[in-house]
Amino acid sequence: MDWLGPEEWQAVALSLKVALWATLAGLPLGLFTAYALARWEFPGKQLVNGLVHLPLILPPVVTGYLLLMTFGTRAPVGAFLQDIGITFAFRWTGAALAAGVMAFPLMVRAMRLSIEAVDIKLEQAAATLGASRLWVFLTVTLPLILPGIIAGGILAFAKAMGEFGATITFVSNIPGQTQTLPSAIYAFLQVPGGESAAMKLVLISVAVAMTALLLSEIFARRLTKRMEGR
């Protein structure tokens, strides 16, 4: 297809990869955080809660900057991670990290709401039947909050697809490596006459996200149907 240049295709592929990873890798941590916030009482809970919401409050540039100062090659954490073979700076992994961080609050909020809506009495029933906490979570809580996980996941995916500010600040905008769709769109918008190319990319981005959204809706609806009827 010569509608898009190879560089743009690269951006599409990269964006997909970044958003998928940001979502998938974020899910377990998000779920854990959401569960802890919904069900446990621990000192510093409000601090954790605040921290989770931080990327939402801060201008993305600031988040990106903070990421750069934490996970950059010169930063202690970044240097340590690099020693054990994980590099974020100026890699697609960094783009995924930035997108994941930005999407995290959305994911956690959705999951937390779902967890809070689960009837504790059902979890108790499972416990009386011999299920330990972990098993209760796996066999009762988790299936019941699946709609919330889907909602959180799709929000995170959409957000990750659209994330720009933190990403470009953290990992810059290197075609084929860190140039996601939004970065590519930005680059096109910075030069005279780039609008139509940008618009194409916007359309692709929208199409991808809408497809994901639609799939999630269908899946969630099937889940609910199953629980309501037979």
Binding site: L68, R74, A89, F188, L189, Q190, V191, P192
Partner: protein, 226 residues
């Protein structure tokens, strides 16, 4: 490199690769973003800034390869208006802006932060317009957004780089801002210390060579040559 150089650099890249055998990998973002990344260890070889201030900052931090900094190209500021409402302005008239700004603001880039805004404000101060119109300046995060405001007709006037106005049929230049009313608009370039200094040197000289400068000129920039 500053994102505004995308088109030009995209056009220059194939020639450069053909001539020197080096791959040219661009990272396009705001000058401030790139400068900070370099400060924090970005693996860059060459930095082309739209803002001499950030190049100064890197130089002070000792991050530039010694003696590699040079002024690559220049630019001009122009006053624009929506193409369908364009009447030439005489910037020497004291209330020239007031008349036109009844229906909306003057669109500029951030006057304290973005180079085009800083230069523009300086020019308006020199011309004596600034005190009258300061309150009706709509500042955008970059020049392109200022252009867009004029382009869709929201702002009756805007101040942007001449290089921005090409390829947008919806805006028309209604006045050139005299270069002497503000500090010279310069896009400096330099090699980064610790990078591939040979390739950086090759690129910097290629960019200053006539071929490249011609491409820049075609995009509305002012070639500075050697």
């Amino acid at each position: 490199a500053a994102a505004s150089l995308k088109t030009a650099l995209d056009a220059i890249a194939p020639g450069f690769t053909a001539q020197t055998g080096h791959d040219l990998r661009l990272s396009l973002a705001g000058s401030s973003t790139l400068a900070r990344q370099i400060q924090l260890g970005a693996p860059a070889d060459v930095f082309i800034s739209a803002n001499p201030g950030w190049m100064d900052a890197l130089q002070n931090d000792g991050l530039l390869a010694p003696n590699s900094r040079r002024d690559l190209i220049g630019n001009r500021l122009v006053v624009i208006a929506p193409a369908n409402r364009a009447t030439p302005l005489d910037l020497m008239q004291p209330d020239v802006f007031a008349d036109h700004l009844e229906s909306g603001p003057l669109a500029m880039a951030l006057v304290t932060a973005v180079p085009a805004g800083i230069y523009g404000k300086e020019a308006l101060q020199t011309l004596g317009h600034w005190p009258h119109i300061a309150a009706s300046v709509a500042q955008t995060d970059n020049v392109r957004a200022a252009l867009a405001l004029v382009s869709v007709g929201e702002a009756p006037l805007g101040i942007v780089y001449a290089s921005d106005t090409i390829a947008d049929p919806d805006v028309a230049v209604v006045a050139d801002i005299p270069p002497e009313t503000h500090a010279p608009i310069i896009y400096p370039a330099a090699a980064i210390a610790g990078g591939n200094e040979q390739a950086a040197a090759d690129l910097l000289s290629y960019l200053q060579a006539p071929d490249a400068q011609a491409i820049f000129a075609a995009q509305g920039f002012l070639p500075l040559g050697n």
